[in-house]
């Protein structure tokens, strides 16, 4: 397995990387001679190739240069500073450099660091400001004039932060701390057989894949045409991670549960239904047979083999419009063969996914997306073994209230918990520490629980749950004492 932690790895052409400036991230593919626009600046990534991930670059006119990691702070020998702002008047004339002067400096290609220094020297009020205010002033100007960009290796931490800041709508406003809870509550780890149903651009899937490190298997349930994996492709997983990633259409779940499922009833999916990202990941490219197969997989394959040969005989191959130009014929033939091979590959995987689900022994279920959670849970929990955790994310609390009630009625679950996390960031500086911004709401809600063996008769699993006492008696007593 590729256990390389990404740190220390070098930036290579074709990699998926993340650009970072202060707290802002952007995921980009590393390509030569390709203009990238980030934070109101444009540049080429050619010069970044070969450097180690985590390197900070300074943007010059039209390219990336590698600056020194540590910029020597220009120390003003005698640091003068005021004690308060009683004599500072805002007359708009404190900066002696005009707008045009600054523009001219920029056009000369003078380093941002020097521009900041000039601004300080030409500020009449700078020396009267308090030390704190001076710090703040320098920080503000640096942010504007010193364009430094760090290129980092993607990870769940970075990508989930990036998505929440940049495109929260695409991930149903799943805040990164909520995603962190899901991975822990779901006991996601190497070797699991997980069922994932998400419409979060593939971010949740990627997070689960990262935590499983290529060990075990994942069955992704998808609505409509195919799974969306735009965010998954940003992780830059090795191709081997995709060997044990299966997908299964949600629309076939009922037939699978009622044992009427057959591969023939599936519409032959057209080529354009496959997300392009998959191909860029090389998951569909020629690969040696997967080296690491769990026992259960090899046994299912053995049982499936019989079906597969029949399958291939009955398979409909989509007729292709072949152009009758002899010169192109060869290429076309290869194209068709390639398409057929890919389609066969997909159908084989689909049969395997169905077989894995039918075993009804999954190690967990993760649900996150734009669908009402109740029907998903009531069906998909059937595929999960007893004593396994499940987690459902929803942007809103109300659907989870209903889901909770329905699950309690149905039974087969225990330790149901409806929760939410709040996250608070802090500014920590000497004598200037305080909370930054509080994030509440908007991060979504989670319903988690553990599956148990279903009762054959009436469900009295509710009995256990119902043993809740509203308040422990000792607390009640305390309260009464308080009020007396």
């Amino acid at each position: 397995m590729e256990g390389s932690m990404g740190l220390g790895a070098r930036i290579q052409e074709g990699d998926c990387a993340v650009l970072k400036r202060d707290e802002v991230f952007k995921a980009v593919p590393i390509l030569k001679r390709r203009k990238v626009i980030f934070e109101k600046q444009w540049f080429y990534l050619d010069n970044a190739i070969g450097h180690i991930y985590g390197t900070t670059f300074e943007v010059t006119s039209g390219g990336s240069l590698q600056p020194k990691k540590e910029i020597e702070e220009p120390t003003t020998e005698t640091k003068e500073a005021g004690t308060d702002n009683r004599n500072i008047v805002d007359d708009g004339k404190s900066q002696k450099l005009t707008h045009d002067d600054i523009k001219a400096l920029k056009e000369k290609g003078i380093k941002g660091q020097e521009i900041v220094q000039q601004l300080i020297e030409n500020s009449t009020t700078f020396r009267d400001k308090t030390e704190f205010a001076q710090d703040k002033y320098i920080k503000k100007k640096k942010k504007k004039y010193e364009a430094v960009i760090t290129i980092v290796k993607p990870s769940t931490r970075i990508l989930s932060t990036m998505y929440y800041a940049r495109e929260p709508g695409k991930i149903n406003h799943l805040r990164y701390d909520t995603l962190a809870q899901m991975l822990t509550l779901g006991n996601i780890r190497a070797g699991n057989k997980m069922i994932v149903m998400e419409t979060c651009a593939g971010l949740v899937l990627g997070a689960v894949m990262e935590r499983m490190g290529g060990y075990g298997s994942i069955i992704q349930m998808y609505p409509q045409g195919g799974p969306v994996r735009a965010a998954t492709s940003c992780f830059g997983f090795p191709a081997s991670f995709f060997n044990s990633l299966y997908e299964f259409p949600l629309s076939k779940v009922d037939s699978l549960l009622s044992r009427t499922f057959s591969i023939e009833t599936l519409p032959s999916e057209s080529e354009d239904n496959i997300p392009a990202e998959e191909e860029s990941n090389g998951s569909l490219d020629e690969k040696p047979a997967s080296i690491q197969e769990t026992e259960e997989e090899s046994t299912t394959e053995a049982t499936m083999e019989g079906n597969q040969t029949e399958e291939q005989e009955t398979m409909d191959l989509a007729a292709e419009d072949t152009e009758n130009k002899e010169s192109k014929e060869k290429g076309n033939k290869e194209n068709i063969r390639e398409k057929q091979r890919k389609q066969q590959e997909r159908r084989k995987k689909l049969v395997e996914a169905a077989a894995l689900l039918k075993e009804k022994n999954a190690d967990g279920l993760i649900v996150a997306g734009r669908f009402h959670p109740t029907p998903l849970l009531l069906s998909l929990l059937e595929f999960v073994a007893p004593s396994r955790p499940f987690v459902v994310y929803c942007q809103y609390r109300e659907p989870l209230l209903e889901c909770y009630t329905k699950l309690r009625e149905k039974g087969g679950v225990i330790n149901l918990k409806l929760s939410e996390t709040w996250l608070r960031n802090y500014q920590v500086l000497p004598d200037r520490s305080h909370p930054k911004l509080t994030m509440s709401g908007g991060g979504g809600y989670l319903l988690s629980g553990i599956t148990v063996v279903m009762d054959k008769g009436k469900s009295d699993a509710g009995r256990l749950e119902a043993q809740k006492t509203e308040e422990p008696t000792s607390k009640k007593r305390k309260l009464e004492e308080l009020h007396s």
Binding site: M5, G54, T55, A190, N192, R397, L401, T421, R424
Partner: protein, 308 residues
């Protein structure tokens, strides 16, 4: 069973979780011939547990029953014997993600304490990663090692009994991540830096007091760490309840009871509402916050060591 692998049936030597009801459970070590007392009566391991499926119901002698659950780091956190104050799963989740832990990660931790976080780390870095955990209290270090053995994860963890502030983690340039939960983390930043790989890694420190955080941040800056970021995470749990609110009698004429004066259009899907006007109540489902919740556990300070 093991803490890093699911097993289907309960076997001798397993640590199983006996679930009695809402948030009421305890761990039990399964042994032939053993008995465990619960408020529903006795559980005989040989006949009631061994060979049974995890997640099944066990009827106790008094006719009551319990459910036996497969252990996970999260269930262990809720049930472990406290030797120190412990970290709970809410903080652990964020620590795991922000330290970028995954299978294969090499992690340094101090102090081991009661092993709550240790179990979660081991779960995440298995099967190819490793945890080096340092605990200066000899008895606690020994107890932790014993637990790791019992939970069949001793091959994934090394416990060292030393003072991390004086002697460090006992490894250098090996770790992908370092975690500190000690009273004076700023004294261990240098050791954390040298434990991390040359090409860099992630750092986290947990402290209850802001003064500790301030000193830690200063030390991190001095040692050249970047991306220094302090946050705090709070868990809010909701009880799901059906609430009835009385509709006030405003002396409306009897014939005008069709419109109670509020939107009852969603009656059907909510299963809501005044079955009859005489009752004069409206029902709805609500997620009611707990009367008391944990308001603060500690501040989490994260940082990155990058290649310098």
């Amino acid at each position: 069973m093991s803490f890093v692998e699911y097993g289907d049936t309960i076997q001798e030597g397993d640590t199983a979780i006996v679930f009695l009801g809402h948030e009421s459970m305890f761990p039990v070590k399964v042994q032939h011939g053993s008995k465990t007392q619960t408020k529903y009566g006795v559980i005989r391991h040989s006949s009631d547990l061994i060979g049974k499926k995890y997640g099944s119901k066990v009827t106790c002698s008094k006719g009551g029953w319990v459910v036996i659950l497969h252990p996970t780091p999260e269930l262990w956190t809720m049930n472990l014997p406290h030797r120190t104050q412990i970290l709970y799963s809410t903080d652990i989740s964020l620590i795991t993600m922000m330290l970028e832990l995954k299978p294969g990660s090499i992690v340094c931790e101090s102090g081991t304490g009661s092993g709550s976080l240790s179990h979660a780390i081991i779960r995440t870095v298995a099967p190819t990663g490793h945890l080096y955990t340092v605990e200066f209290h000899q008895q606690r270090a020994e107890k932790a090692m014993e637990e790791f053995r019992e939970h069949k994860v001793e091959h994934l963890v090394t416990v060292k009994n030393q003072d991390v502030c004086k002697n460090g983690f006992g490894v250098s340039n090996m770790a992908d991540a370092v975690f500190l939960d000690i009273p004076s983390p700023w004294e261990a930043i240098g050791h954390a830096k040298s434990a991390l790989k040359v090409e860099g890694g992630r750092f986290c420190s947990f402290s209850p007091c802001i003064e500790q955080v301030q000193r830690t941040c200063l030390a991190l800056e001095e040692h050249g760490f970047t991306e220094i970021n302090t946050l705090e995470i709070l868990l809010r749990v909701y009880n799901v309840r059906t609430i009835s609110l009385q509709i006030p009698d405003l002396g409306k004429a009897a014939e005008d009871n069709s419109n109670p004066g509020f939107d009852s259009s969603n009656q059907a899907n909510q299963g809501v509402m005044c079955g009859s006007q005489q009752q004069g109540t409206a029902q709805f489902k609500s997620g009611v916050p707990l009367r008391e919740m944990v308001g603060h556990t500690g501040y989490l300070t994260f940082a990155t060591k990058s290649l310098s």
